[in-house]
């Protein structure tokens, strides 16, 4: 609940360690010092090369960031490992079997019971993949969706190295033709079909959500309603079966984020359940 005042982005403070804030402050001071040094040393700005940081990414699509900030919630209590979300995603995006934008990890507890956890692009707000791309092909829309511009990707795979969630895949061969562009969405450069020699990843069915009321394929496919698509601004999340008030749902479910310690500020919340740990399955992984 104190997250808002800390400038954390979301009112429910999901950070585990309060030490993070101190670190942040000292880093900011350090950065201020570095900035002054940099300004002092600056020999004049050169307008030769476009500089893309998140400040600039925020202006990519006008002001609609005030209307929606997409996120997703995975209710692990409901997941029974049927992998229907995975199948629906493969089908929707025409992916080859070795390229799964969504994976369902599974492991066993001591009693031999199996637990599951779907992992896909976590839509980080501080995306490691965005920083390392040499050609600015990874973008973050102002609604918080991280996407790859398939027309600009050079195939350096630096983002694959950077992603802590292993959520990126390379099109090693010519991909099957896909129909990622249904009628309501405008033709933007962000959403062309997969191309050979470029990197692909979960797009949160971003060609659907802002333009139609169709839910992402994985959300629609889950028969147990484990996948939610949410909007932080309107504070609503749906799983195709029920609608919840996002903040209440996360607070009451003790939601956590995967690999919080990496500072990626992800937009994917996991509601833990059945006692399985979130992330880092260490023993007995399939």
């Amino acid at each position: 609940m104190t997250g808002g005042s800390k400038g954390h982005g979301f009112p429910v403070d999901l950070r585990l360690s309060p030490a993070g804030e101190e670190l942040d402050m000292s880093r900011r001071n350090l950065l201020r010092g570095l900035g002054l040094a940099g300004v002092a040393a600056a020999g004049g700005a050169l307008g030769l090369v476009a500089y893309r940081d998140e400040a600039q990414a925020a202006t990519v699509e006008g002001v609609s960031g005030q209307e929606h900030q997409w996120c997703r919630v995975v209710d692990l209590r409901a997941c029974k490992g049927e992998r229907k979300c995975v199948a629906a995603c493969q089908e929707r995006h025409g992916l080859p079997p070795e390229q799964t934008w969504m994976r369902t990890l599974s492991w066993h507890d001591e009693a031999g019971k199996e637990f599951f956890m779907p992992v896909m692009c976590q839509m980080c707000q501080n995306p490691p993949c965005l920083k390392v791309c040499p050609v600015s092909a990874t973008i973050k829309t102002d609604q918080g969706v991280v996407l790859v511009d398939q027309d600009q990707c050079i195939g350096s795979r630096a983002c694959m190295a950077a992603c802590p969630y292993e959520a990126r895949y390379f099109n090693w061969n010519e991909p099957a033709p896909t129909h990622r562009m249904p009628a309501p969405s405008p033709n933007t450069p962000q959403f062309p079909a997969n191309q050979v020699g470029t990197v692909g990843k979960c797009v949160l069915c971003a060609d659907w959500i802002p333009y139609s009321n169709q839910l992402p394929a994985c959300v629609e496919a889950c028969p147990r309603g484990a996948h939610f698509i949410g909007d932080l601004v309107t504070d609503v999340a749906v799983n195709g079966q029920s609608t919840v008030r996002l903040s209440t749902f996360l607070r009451e479910g003790n939601a956590v984020r995967f690999k919080e310690e990496l500072g990626t500020d992800s937009r994917c919340y996991y509601i833990p359940g059945n006692g399985q740990p979130v992330g880092g399955p260490l023993v007995g992984v399939q």
Partner: protein
Amino acid sequence: MSSILESTAVADRQVDVIEAAMRPFRRASKRFWLAIALLTVVVVVGIAAWMYQLRQGMGVAGYTDSSFWAIYIADVVAIIGVSYGGAVVSAILLLTGASWRAPLVRLSEGMALVTVVVGAAFIIPHLGRPDRLMGMVIHANVASPVFWDMMAILTYTFATFVFFLLPLVPDTAILLGAHPDQLGRGRRLLFRFVSRGWVGSTHQRRVLHSAMVIVAIVIIPLAVSVHSVLAWAFALVSRPGWHESIWAPYFVIAALYSGVALVILVTAGFRRGYHLEAFITQKHFVRLGYIMVALGAVYFYLTFADLLPSAYVGEVGPTDIIHGMLLGPVAVWFWLFLVAGTILPLALVAIPRTRNIWGIGIAAVLVVIAMWIKRVIMVTETSGYDRLTNSFGDLFRFTWVSVSVTLGGVAAIPLLLMLLFRVVPLLSIADVQETTDETVEGVPELAVPGGSSHGRAVGAAGAVILLVVMLGTWGVTRAQPAHAASNPAVPTAGTARAIGAVTAIEVVVTAVEDGAENTLTARVNAANKPVAGALVNFYESTTMFAPGNNLVPLGAVQTDRTGTAELTYVAAVTGPRTISATYLPSFLGDPVTGTAILDVKEAVSRYQPPPAQALARAGETLAFTLFGLIIIVVITLIAQVARVRRACRPVANGSIEQASAT
């Protein structure tokens, strides 16, 4: 010009130098052409394999999603790495005034130039879409370490070229003066262009030496920056095994180590091929061998220092990587590297019996191959490690395509060197002359008053470049998003009521707006009597995600004795919505619902954009400062060429006539 001719007449040794430097210009032997033909075939096969890879996709090179970075990036690191060895033998030995470097410098500078070009070229097969290479310039992301790689490599390549070019000015003049008729038309034209105006006066020599000192000072930090940035392409991601603070210096030492080894090999090869035994003696190899094993010992130490902290702490990812290296899937290769790459070379140089050209040559071969293996291990092992399951996926498998492309690049190095030294002299004639008749000439090698202050200034500039590279890394990666302020809402009170009536039970809902807080009241009556203790669920409607009105639960409240349930809530968005309250009279019965319309004028979203950081653009500033510094470096390098040219200018026309006359 006359002074050169006099000095060539003085010592017999100098005639030998000129003769030896021109040996590659003579009609080449059958063995030479056979070697050229063989190397060309290997290069052509490599290029053909790359074309096949372009057509078939990168899968044919053995790449998969679990080995997304593999052999080609290891080739980039290994081949650009050896380039630094050429630069160090020449630059550091120049700055320390080690006169024994003289017969080695041209070969090592040529090697530095050729290998940096070949190594950089390996980025192209590494890319999935080489057709979009221009994107590195037109869509460049200044925050990306891969972009820094490009900038550092380009600057370093230019510096290597200048470093190679400047000493050619006196050498080509000497050759034109000595044997213009034996050079052939093409070389004569080229040499006249390079050496125009050079007469070998004391002033010209002093200017050239001072220019060389400055370029040598610039090239050392530039090479350090190249290998640091190559390391940061790995170390700036959070992958276990790569995310190591030691990696930048580790790569620099690796580059020096393998580079000195390749200098030994190139020197040995050309010494044998062109019978340069009179100039390059066993002493040279022993000295290079000492330098090599000293660097090897440092590399061994850094390898240990790299592994120990992770192994000691036992964090899962890094521990798995180390386990994989010592006992797991790449253990064979790692131990091969350790024995063949550090222990055997050390032994070969340390044992007096093997401390000769053959022993040191074998040690150098071992080092070059083992260091390449080490780079492949470093890249492929971590690349194949899945951080979600903490297990190794399919590790990289060599295919004929990737091996052919790599061999093609490797063969291109001797091929280009052999062709290069058919065009330019392979010995630095002026340097060899100066070291042999230092006493006669009276031009002390480092006593150049004009150059040293310049050198200091440029050295400082180099240090600043390095500092800013590091600061830039920091700043750019910390750049945070800036966000617009949230929407303001005008506070107005709006009231609406509606009655949801069912036969006997009814729920009457009232929704009142008071500033941002909305008070929802539901009164539950059964046959006009209030129902106490009834659980009422409140909902608001939303049009998010689905057409029509979806109900968002706001909470459940029990009615009090007057049959009233009250809930205060803050709406996230403004606009009209339907408020409903539902009461379930019995477990099996139908729910009773009452609704009211609430037009929210003032809403507070619980989403708060992260605040804009005061210095969100500091990274950008630093990055552009870096560009400024790169431009300063390039200007410094160009200025050195210009200085030498200016020193040649006053007597330019006369000297060419003189040269052609003799």
